[in-house]
């Protein structure tokens, strides 16, 4: 009987500890992605969305190296400023956020964006192979052009979900093709394609 108490107690302690972790983690996780922690409340939808009043910019206008490099690239402060020294915003909130860019330009400091999308260090993801095969950014990153400031980790890809990658490598969406025009029916699921 005594033993059962002990087991129950132990399990309870583990469970409570686990819950505490989950809660803590949840809170911290949200904090990590809440708009407020980005140095500038950057709305992807305003830039890339196709609703009236939105600008329909191509993702690669800013993420400029996605089709030629493993890294998609994040725009230099001067790229932002290239447009925004003219485009000053229409609402006071927009104007306040855009004014921050001027601050970074003038101080010569980079904008310390908080990283949302990150693949694990032990995996290598060459953006250019995927972009050149005809994959849309949204297929992994979600409908970013409809999102305001990022509020949660990407619901589509999730960051460390290898199953998502493998699923697509086994059964790629239709319409993907190699540089010579032949359709891609499958991609390698060999570990060392990504892990080295």
């Amino acid at each position: 009987m005594k033993k059962n108490w002990l087991i129950g107690g132990l399990a309870g302690v583990f469970a409570l500890a686990g819950l505490a972790f989950v809660q803590g983690g949840g809170a911290e996780g949200e904090a990590a992605v809440a708009a407020t922690i980005q140095p500038i409340a950057f709305p992807h939808n305003q830039h890339a969305g196709s609703e009236p009043g939105q600008n329909r910019m191509d993702c690669q206008f800013c993420h400029f190296s996605a089709e030629r490099s493993v890294d998609a690239g994040i725009p230099a402060v001067s790229s932002c400023w290239g447009c925004h020294q003219v485009v000053q915003g229409t609402t006071p909130q927009q104007q306040a956020e855009i004014a921050k860019i001027r601050g970074y330009v003038e101080s010569g400091e980079p904008i310390p964006w908080v990283r949302i999308h990150k693949i694990s260090d032990h995996a290598h993801f060459p953006h250019m192979r995927h972009v050149n095969a005809g994959l849309q950014c949204q297929q992994c990153h979600g409908e970013v052009q409809t999102m305001g400031t990022f509020e949660a980790p990407d619901p589509v890809w999730g960051g460390s979900n290898m199953g998502w990658c493998i699923e697509c490598h086994r059964n790629p969406p239709e319409g993907l093709q190699k540089a010579d025009g032949t359709p891609i029916e499958e991609a390698s699921i060999d570990c060392a394609v990504c892990h080295y």
């Binding site: 989950v22 030629r68 490099s69 001067s78 964006w113 460390s160 080295y196």
Partner: protein
């Protein structure tokens, strides 16, 4: 034990399972907030994730090898040989790779340092420059000199220093190289009136004699000479005749271990041997200038002096004459005894008599490597001691370490009122300085090199200066100091000063100049066009022995008296001490690189600490065992050092390498090993004035203490296993006639289940036979249509130089583990150069047979490591690479236990995280995972380079990778060009062509049927090899 009621065991597990899941989720959701920092203004030439390459010139030594530097996001991450450079032709030595660690050396000065009492205070550059200007002004007023002591600098920096010194009034520039070829230069001046080093065309020689010249480790051009040796001494598919290499000297260096024959001559007897041979060959036709001299020498005298039989010497002399072009090289920096100039002159005479000058020995080619004499330094010391020097500037050299106490340098330097060091990190000389003005690393600075006539090589900054250190290029600092003194050096910056003469040549067309300048920077060379026409390079055309004016050089009588006899050695010890430059540390300037510290010495395989080499017979006679710590005492000093038993050294000699025992040189060098220079006299050889390294006898007494040697060597014997077999030259072309050892005619055998040992069908054993029969399904269903990546390593070319080892460390983020961990067998290098003695005899002239074998993961088709991994962390890719998936590995180490090649290394203690301080982490290759503890790792065939080539090929036109597009780091670096990587399944690929050779074998394959993808080509020997080894 049973759980009866209440919570059932199963429920308990369920509860645990749920909490476990919670914890797992937590693990994913938290973590540090990572920042993404964009550029403020994006540099045009940088694409994130894509490497940018720059051409420059290696500043590691005076050889001036061409370098390509790979930068990522503005950081230099890897240096490689420039394949288009006429000197190094794509090769790079281990020290060249280690220059990258000097760039990111955490011990570099944070800024200019100004002495305040016993310590330094960090100042600003303006403060430092004004201070120096004021002190120079003060010295001028006091009628004292400004002295500049410089190591080897490029022509532009030398020009600037000279201009600076003449601008400040009375100034003296002293060149001082710790490791110098001064005797050879002086001998060439005496013999031919050309005050330059000769160049050698080693590849063209059919018989090469080295009289104690360790030309692949030190000397004027180690990489070029290494390449030449590999080419000269190997057979190749093109039917190149195999040349013979004979080493004459008391100790076998890495260079010596590559010889076909060893004549263990007495230390200092080189001149007598060379003159005896020359006298025998010349007979009555001796060169007039030396007829009298040669009359006094004959083979009998040579035999008596050297301890080698007269018949052996006669036969060698005849072969030297009859070989066609032959080549003899005089004593190098490890054999500078008191008659070293005479010995080098004697060897030049031998070359002249054999008709080699103008064929393999080129005089007047402007060879410009380190060759300054110690005597000018001795004069400088006297001047400093005499109080005539008011300000001493030391740049690019560290005499307080590299000169013995007896030289008086430290005492004299200490008397100089104001001492300035330009060292970028602390060293023994900088520690004495009043002001330190830290120089830029050569990868952050402008400069040039002029290693040889027609070769003018560019040094350009490949990145912004490492921001941790407020450094300034010394040229810029001097220009600023001159400005404070009211002198205009004619340029605002060193860069302008550097460009000005080139600009002046094209003053009429600035646009054309800019185009040309851009081309110079792109190629890393000035005047590639002219060079291509002139046919510069090691493989020089006949007639290249012409002097600067195009006249054939004439042998003439020396203008000073010389003694050719065996010199006297100091003291009355019974052992002669050989102090030689280290293949890893040079003269000690590379000692603070952990890559160099951890690189096993190519001869001893010892890492980190110093050792005393001693012949086994000598040790036995004294009751000394390996690892015994002994006191080595010369008349000039003594050191305590452990003994390493080496059959490649004469019984009457012991050897110590330079580079150990630093007292003020950063965290890795300080306290590691002993400084051999402290045993030497501060003597200059006459007439060259070279510092003597082979000058004293020592006595050796055990201290009674022992230590474990930090070696990576398992064994120096093969124990009858065909690990590194060889084939006799005579047996080549007669495959299957039983001359050959370990030949491939033995059928493969495999232990199969209950059936005992079964023969493997012949078609399964081939390198292309992959995947294994019956395994071609699933992931491997179409593997037959894919490449099988494989490698060929030609052991007839490999010289054991170990450049590949460091190249691999740099490319693959392989951490160093430190001396104590090496002692425990935990070194993590992915490449291990095995060194096996087959025949090595220090008592008689005889053939030498030492085998080098670079051992890497063999990427077995039938790999023993794979089935024992419980988590599928090691497996085969469809392209035949044995892959290691770090994130799957749980560290059971079963795979390493089951690997017959011992190529798997295990990370015990977070070496990569804890051993690598900022900013050395900047060197990490972003394309390769940095592994933490608890992970097994090994050679991946540079998987990141395979992927990179595939990505580029796919992006270009959706094509397959072409042969030669994938070059692993080891192959890229190899000066000997011994390594070829490629697709074994493609019969047209270069690797397939190399592998299709009767010398090809795979290590231990017949015994254990591992079917490796790494194919070795046997070393070719002149002597018959007996079965088994």
């Amino acid at each position: 034990m049973t759980v009866t009621d209440g919570i059932k065991r199963r429920d308990f597990l369920k509860v645990l399972g749920v909490t476990g899941a919670g914890a797992t989720m937590t693990g994913c959701g938290t973590g540090e907030v990572e920042k993404l920092l964009p550029y403020v203004v994006a540099p045009e030439e940088i694409t994130p994730g894509v490497a940018t390459w720059y051409a420059t010139t290696c500043g590691g030594c005076s050889a001036g090898c061409g370098m390509w530097v790979r930068t990522r996001e503005g950081r230099a991450v890897k240096v490689e040989g420039n394949p288009n450079h006429p000197i190094s032709k794509g090769g790079l030595c281990a020290r060249g790779h280690a220059t990258l660690q000097h760039l990111y050396n955490p011990d570099r000065f944070a800024g200019p340092m100004i002495r305040e009492g016993d310590r330094f205070r960090q100042g600003t550059w303006d403060e430092a420059e004004r201070l120096l200007a004021a002190r120079i002004q003060g010295a001028r007023t006091a009628g004292q000199q400004v002295m500049f002591v410089g190591g080897h600098t490029g022509p532009t920096m030398s020009r600037l220093v000279d201009a600076f010194l003449s601008a400040v009034g009375s100034g003296t520039r002293v060149e001082y190289d710790a490791v110098s070829d001064a005797p050879l230069r002086e001998a060439t001046r005496l013999a031919y009136g050309v005050d330059q080093l000769p160049t050698y065309d080693i590849a063209a020689a059919h018989l090469l004699l080295s009289f104690g010249n360790d030309f692949i480790e030190d000397g004027s051009s180690p990489v070029a000479h290494n390449k030449g040796l590999a080419q000269m001494s190997s057979v190749d598919a093109a039917g190149h005749e195999k040349g013979t290499f004979v080493y004459l000297g008391p100790r076998l260096s890495t260079t010596g271990l590559n010889a076909d024959e060893w004549l263990p001559i007495r230390p200092g007897s080189e001149a007598t041997v060379a003159l005896g041979m020359a006298s025998y060959l010349a007979g009555a036709d001796a060169p007039p200038a030396y007829a009298n001299l040669l009359q006094g020498y004959d083979l009998a005298r040579a035999a008596a002096a050297s301890g080698i039989g007269e018949d052996t010497l006669r036969e060698l002399a005849e072969r030297f004459r009859d070989a066609g072009p032959s080549l003899a090289m005089g004593p190098g920096a490890g054999a500078h005894h008191r008659n070293a100039t005479a010995a080098n002159l004697a060897v030049l005479i031998l070359n002249e008599v054999a008709g080699n000058v103008g064929r393999t020995v080129m005089v007047g080619d402007g060879q410009n490597a380190a060759s300054s004499p110690f005597s000018s330094m001795a004069d400088a010391i006297a001047m400093m001691a005499g109080g005539g020097v008011g300000v001493a500037l030391v740049h690019g050299t560290n005499p307080a370490y590299s000169l013995p106490v007896g030289s008086g340098f430290a005492a004299a330097f200490d008397q100089v009122p104001f001492k300035v060091s330009f060292a970028s990190a602390m060293d023994e000389t900088a520690a004495m300085a009043d002001l330190i003005m830290p120089d830029r690393h050569f990868l952050e600075a402008w400069g040039d090199a002029h290693p040889r006539r027609g070769v003018h090589s560019v040094q350009q900054p490949v990145m912004q200066a490492v921001p941790h250190f407020d450094s300034k290029q010394s040229g810029d600092a001097l220009i600023a100091v001159a400005r404070h003194l009211g002198t205009d050096m004619g340029a605002a910056t060193f860069y302008e000063y550097f460009r000005a003469p080139h600009q002046a040549m094209h003053a009429d067309d600035p646009a054309a100049f800019e185009r040309m300048w851009h081309e110079h920077l792109r190629t890393g060379m000035f005047g590639m066009g002219g060079m291509a026409m002139g046919g510069m390079g090691m493989g020089m055309a006949a007639g290249a022995g012409m002097g600067p004016a195009g006249d054939a050089v004439q042998l003439r009588a020396p203008d000073v008296a010389l003694t050719f006899d065996v010199p006297a050695f100091d003291g009355s010890g019974d052992l002669t001490l050989i102090v030689h430059p280290s293949p890893r540390f040079g003269g000690g300037e590379f000692s603070n690189s952990p890559w160099m510290q951890e690189l096993p010495d190519p001869v001893s395989k010892i890492t980190w600490h110093s050792w005393l080499e001693m012949n086994p017979a000598t040790a036995e006679a004294r009751g000394i065992r390996e690892g015994d710590i002994v006191t080595v005492t010369s008349p000039h000093g003594s050191v305590e050092v452990p003994v390493w038993i080496y059959p490649g050294i004469r019984e009457d000699a012991v050897a110590l390498a330079m580079g150990g025992g630093h007292t003020e040189m950063g965290r890795w060098a300080t306290g590691s090993g002993v400084n051999a220079m402290q045993l030497l006299p501060a003597a200059a050889e006459q007439p060259s004035g070279a510092f003597v390294t082979l000058a004293t006898t020592v006595s050796v007494a055990p201290t009674g203490q022992r230590r474990r040697i930090a070696t990576i060597e398992g064994s120096n014997q093969q124990y009858d296993r065909p690990i590194a077999p060889a084939v006799a030259l005579a047996a080549l072309g007669h495959a299957g006639e039983e001359h050959e050892e370990g030949a491939h005619h033995e059928p493969l055998q495999e232990l199969q289940g209950y059936g005992g040992v079964q023969p493997v069908p012949a078609e399964e054993g081939a390198p292309t036979a992959y995947p294994l029969a019956g395994a071609d399904h699933g992931l491997y269903a179409d593997a037959h249509e894919k490449p099988r990546w494989g490698m060929a390593i030609d052991l007839d070319k490999c010289t054991g130089c170990s450049a590949c080892v460091t190249a691999c460390h740099a490319e693959n983020n392989v951490p160093w583990v430190g001396e104590q961990q090496v002692v425990m067998g935990r070194d993590m290098s992915w490449v291990r150069i095995e060194r096996y003695y087959e025949h090595i005899d220090a008592t008689h002239a005889s053939h030498l047979d030492v085998r080098f074998l670079p051992m890497i993961c063999q990427h077995c088709g039938n790999a023993p490591c794979e089935p024992v991994c419980p988590v599928y962390a090691t497996y085969h890719t469809p392209e035949g690479v044995n892959a290691q998936v770090y994130n799957r590995c749980v560290g059971t180490r079963y795979c390493a236990n089951n690997c017959p090649y011992k190529v798997r290394v295990y990370n015990w203690y977070r070496y990569a995280d804890e051993n690598v301080p900022e900013p050395m982490t900047w060197q990490w290759n972003p394309d390769v995972t940095v592994r933490t503890n608890g992970i097994m790792e090994k050679c991946s065939f540079c998987m990141q380079r395979i992927r990179d080539a595939e990505n580029r090929a796919a992006l270009e036109e959706g094509r397959e990778v072409r042969d030669g597009e994938i070059v692993p780091a080891c192959q890229q670096s190899c000066p000997a060009e011994a390594i070829v990587f490629g697709n074994l399944r493609d019969p047209e690929s270069r690797v397939s062509q190399v592998v299709a050779n009767e010398r090809t074998y795979r290590v231990l394959d017949e015994l254990i049927n591992t079917q490796p993808a790494v194919n070795y080509l046997k070393k070719v020997t002149f002597h018959e090899v007996s079965g088994g080894h």
